[in-house]
């Protein structure tokens, strides 16, 4: 049985009031500008297992901070699946309605606007500081219920390149120790140091008292990507690699024993490295920086960082970077044109918010595209319990979109009705053809249903070459009946 999984929130927020206000205390006591705001988000998720439905609406609260020209910066996961966003200057002020101008779930950042400019009176935009050093003291801004703003102290302990909260791509991250005094953190609290903003908190473990912070340089790169109107996003390296450590592998590849670099093991279809790099290339430098055998370049302040930082933080999609490789043992410089790799390029999308799942219900057959959200509908232990084939796709092939297979189209379940007697109980199969036409995405199903075979619709599945046959002429009436019976307002969404 499948269960609907609740969104995993950064940390459970149990708000404890603390008597001592430590505003401006600590070593670096430069004044923090009055720029933090509180966000109240009402959100409603789509039910991946019953894609025509939305689950009950819920609420979450977070923080934002004011940017120049009356905009608000917050994290993407705070506004995810929102139906209403309200902002408030302090815990006692009026609520204003905000809307999302830009959101990029890959880097977990969003920009909001507020229609009423009055909201911004007596708020000051933040100034960013893109520099940070290990052991630097920082403050997380939080609102007390009394209306006061407090600065919770923390310390930067790590600068690294790692996965972000929602997606799979890796970007620069600050790690910090911080105590939120039992109230929970990671709710996009603005992070300051010396009166300037150094980042936004992304997640927090109260057990380890450890916070992950989106660095100012990622935020500034995000803001720059909007400047000329359309948001361009962050580029993605588009290949996977293995550390080139084993000396025998080097010998076999015809490389000297002291070669440093990484072995290209996979080119992501549709990504930046396609037609630029090849499996078997050894990448020795990226963007003019030499790599070690773990794929790190040497950052002057923070030491070894994964090379993808050179691509994501210093470039935009459309730009070209130089990649030094050893190809067939010979050095070469490859110009790689950078591309963004957003969810539309995934075979199995891993971030699936804000949009209605794509599905078609016909004769009670619920056909939809496989997404991470669908796999998560197996419940709490979905990573182990879900269908083994879907887990395999999710874990190993999620980015392996091909021109003839953009998505994995599945039969989720059969809603019992007279017309599908004999098929009830069939579930979780991969649709390979409909009416003999190959299926690459849900739109192909819609199209193929326009060409029935001798008055029948024929659905062919990958597993055991199983087929389901429906009488085309009975569909209109059956769909009306099934829609009414199961309370389905829309029998399809293929946009």
């Amino acid at each position: 049985m499948k269960l609907t999984l609740k969104t995993i929130t950064p940390c459970a927020a149990s708000v404890l009031l603390c008597a001592a206000a430590c505003w401006g205390s600590g070593k670096n006591d430069a004044a923090i500008p009055n720029s933090a705001v509180k966000l109240y988000v009402t959100y409603q998720e789509y039910e991946a297992d019953s894609p025509w439905k939305k689950s009950e609406n819920k609420g979450r609260a977070g923080y934002g901070c004011v940017l120049p020209s009356n905009r608000i910066l917050t994290t993407g996961d705070i506004v995810k699946d929102h139906t209403l966003i309200e902002v408030q200057k302090s815990m006692v002020g009026e609520h204003f309605t905000a809307r999302v101008e830009v959101v990029d779930y890959d880097v977990d950042l969003a920009i909001l606007t507020v229609e009423d400019d009055a909201f911004f009176s007596d708020l000051a935009p933040v100034e960013f500081d893109r520099d940070i050093s290990i052991d630097q003291p920082i403050q997380f801004l939080v609102f007390e219920e009394s209306g006061q703003i407090r600065a919770m102290p923390g310390t930067i302990v790590k600068v690294t390149v790692d996965e972000y909260y929602l997606g799979w791509d890796e970007y620069l991250i600050y790690g910090a120790t911080a105590s939120f005094e039992g109230r929970g953190g990671g709710w996009s609290e603005p992070v300051f140091s010396n009166g300037r903003m150094v980042g936004l908190s992304m997640s927090y473990s109260s057990e380890k008292q450890y916070a992950s912070i989106i660095p100012a340089s990622i935020i500034l790169h995000f803001l720059d990507a909007i400047k000329n109107g359309a948001y361009t996003g962050f580029p993605s390296p588009g290949f996977r690699y293995t550390a080139l450590r084993n000396p025998d592998l080097k010998n076999f590849l015809g490389l000297p024993h002291d070669t440093e670099g990484i072995y290209v093991r996979y080119i992501v279809p549709g990504g930046s490295a396609e037609r630029a790099l090849r499996v078997g290339d050894v990448v020795t430098s990226v963007d003019g920086f030499e790599l070690d055998w773990d794929g790190n370049y040497l950052h002057p302040d923070w030491g070894r960082l994964n090379f993808s930082d050179r691509i994501t933080r210093y470039h935009y999609p459309g730009e070209t970077v130089e990649v030094g490789v050893l190809r067939d043992g010979k050095p070469a410089t490859i110009k790689m044109k950078l591309k963004r790799f957003d969810q539309s390029k995934y075979l199995v999308p891993v971030i699936c918010c804000d949009t209605r799942p794509r599905y078609i219900i016909i004769g009670g057959l619920v056909i939809q595209e496989l997404t991470a959200d669908y796999i998560k509908s197996w419940g709490k232990n979905w990573k182990n319990r879900a269908n083994k084939k879907f887990l395999y796709y999710y874990k190993y092939e999620a980015q392996a979109q091909k021109s003839d297979r953009k998505r994995v189209v599945i039969l989720n379940k059969v809603l019992p009705d007279n017309v599908n007697i004999g098929y009830q109980g069939i579930d979780n199969l991969v649709v390979s053809k409909v009416n003999g036409r190959p299926i690459s995405e849900i739109g192909d199903v819609a199209e193929a249903l326009g060409s029935p075979e001798n008055g029948f619709h024929r659905f062919t599945f990958e597993e055991y070459d199983r087929e389901i046959i429906l009488d085309k002429d009975k569909m209109a009436e059956a769909d009306k009946r099934i829609g009414a019976q199961y309370g389905i307002a829309r029998m399809r969404n293929v946009e």
Partner: protein
């Protein structure tokens, strides 16, 4: 039958609790005092010492453990019991109820697919003063009272339990995990130690107690007389071949539109073939999209059932009652044309990848400290805490979709790099585990024998191992492997670099 495709989960356990009921003989309607005495002198208790191989370190066995259960003497001074009691046994002893002397017994025949075994006692003096039990000529009916005899844990003497036949149906046989046959369900608890004991009606054996359902109380399962007969017929020629298998995947035609689509006329019934397993009985004899109309003259109904003497069975029951080598005949419609197709039935063989494996040491090969093993249910079971959910996801996909996605055609016996025994020759490869080997030295690997040949036959400077998925190859220096191999075996206590079965299971046809 469709057996190999069905997913069997572990709802069944062969043996468990201790609770049992001793019925006074006076209450026993089925056997009077004299009769009971006769039955008692055919009963034996069985003790076995079992040692299972450790699929994590396939050159080693786990510590032995002791098992106990029941059995009974049949004609010809033989003892019949459950396979699960004596599988992987190193030593077996049998004892009569009132005897002080245990005797050594040996396994003569064992059927892991039907959970039955025949034991012989070399010292024939064991049979002095014993009787033997006769088999019933037919199945018991529902509501029939039956008696279960055996030696459940908690005492030395015979225990007798009375039960009623509450269901006769197909059920998974948990011993192999990949078989389903008829069972007799009894509303009496079958307890630990009851396994292998006779289930009697009217003084004759109608079944052998063998498993119970974990979630239900007072429900025991017995191997029915039909399955026992099948086993006895099978071994009559001196070897056990096991059940034949059709190798057909079919869809029911319960849907009216589907029936019209395949060309069935009003009143006609049958099932539609989706495909056959390559190399199986029905391969080439039956084609995808054929509509199976009858089997051995029994009309096939739209849900795949047939009627035999007023009882509804799955069409597989016809095959269940046959031996390997016998023929089966289908009437079918091929593109609307009526045809007859008859063919000889083949054994299923032992599908190691999908079944529990007994009485054979695991196959493996160690090379340069890298341990290679065929993908098997036994290997997956080495994942602790619910292997079905916790094992490696790629291996689980290969296991679960082996037939469904036709993996068996391309990779009949997938070989897995399961473990790295760290040594200088394989440094930096410690994380390269649980990957499926696609090629070794450029040769496609379809079995562990292919792998051994590809390593042994390579005279080049390097050995190259390529994997399924998007991974870098593993490269080993040939000279270094040769130098280090003995040291690796010594330091990790590996007695032999390989165990490879001689026969080619995938090719037996």
């Amino acid at each position: 039958m469709v057996g190999p495709a069905c997913k069997l989960k572990k709802h069944w356990l062969p043996i468990i609790p201790l609770f049992f009921v001793l019925l006074p003989a006076a209450h026993c309607s089925a056997a009077d005092g004299e009769e009971l005495g006769r039955i008692r002198s055919a009963l034996v208790s069985i003790k076995s010492v079992i040692q299972r191989p450790d699929y994590n370190s396939p050159w080693k066995n786990y510590d032995y453990r002791a098992g106990s259960g029941s059995g009974f003497i049949i004609k010809g001074q033989r003892i019949i019991t459950n396979a699960h009691l004596v599988s992987d046994s190193k030593y077996i002893e049998v004892k009569k109820e009132n005897s002080a002397t245990p005797y050594r017994a040996i396994v003569s025949f064992i059927g892991h697919d039907c959970d039955l075994a025949i034991l012989d006692v070399p010292d024939k003096s064991f049979f002095d003063g014993t009787t033997h039990l006769e088999f019933s000529t037919g199945m018991p009916g529902l509501q029939d009272t039956v008696m279960v005899y055996g030696f459940p844990t908690g005492g030395q003497r015979v225990s007798v339990t009375r039960g009623v036949v509450s269901r006769i149906d197909y059920a998974p046989y948990t011993h192999s995990a990949s078989d389903a046959h008829l069972i007799i369900q009894i509303d009496a608890a079958i307890n630990k130690g009851n396994s292998g004991g006779p289930v009697m009606k009217g003084g004759r054996v109608v079944g052998v107690a063998f498993q119970f359902r974990k979630s239900l109380e007072n429900v025991g399962h017995a191997v029915p007389i039909t399955v026992i007969n099948h086993f006895m017929e099978d071994i009559a020629d001196g070897t056990y071949d096991g059940y034949p298998d059709l190798g057909i995947f079919y869809s029911s035609l319960s849907n009216e539109a589907y029936r019209r689509y395949v060309g069935l006329k009003e009143g006609q019934t049958g099932v539609v073939v989706r495909g056959t397993i390559k190399g199986s009985s029905a391969d080439a004899a039956v084609l995808p999209r054929d509509v199976l109309v009858s089997i051995d003259g029994h009309p096939i109904r739209n849900d795949g059932s047939i009627l035999v003497k007023g009882y509804s069975y799955n069409l597989a029951e016809i095959v269940e009652r046959k031996q390997v080598g016998e023929t089966v005949e289908f009437e079918l419609l091929r593109k609307g044309t009526p045809l007859r197709s008859s063919f000889a039935l083949k054994g299923w063989g032992e599908s190691m990848i999908r079944s529990n494996t007994y009485d054979r040491p695991p196959e493996y090969f160690i090379f340069g400290g890298l341990l290679f093993q065929p993908l098997s249910r036994e290997y997956l079971k080495t994942w602790p805490n619910d292997w079905w959910n916790t094992a490696d996801k790629r291996l689980l996909y290969y296991y679960d979709y082996y037939f469904a996605d036709n993996i068996y055609l391309e990779d009949p016996e997938p070989v897995v790099l399961t473990r790295v025994l760290p040594a200088p020759v394989n440094r930096y490869y410690s994380g390269v585990t649980d990957r499926i080997v696609k090629k070794v030295n450029g040769k496609k690997i379809k079995s562990i024998r292919d792998l051994v040949e590809a390593f042994d036959g390579n005279k080049g400077e390097y050995h190259i191992i390529e994997f399924d998925g998007h991974y870098a190859p593993c490269v080993l220096q040939s000279k270094q492997v040769a130098i280090e191999n003995p040291a690796v075996f010594k330091s990790y206590g590996v007695s032999s670099d390989r165990h490879i079965d001689a026969e080619h299971r995938g090719d037996e046809q």
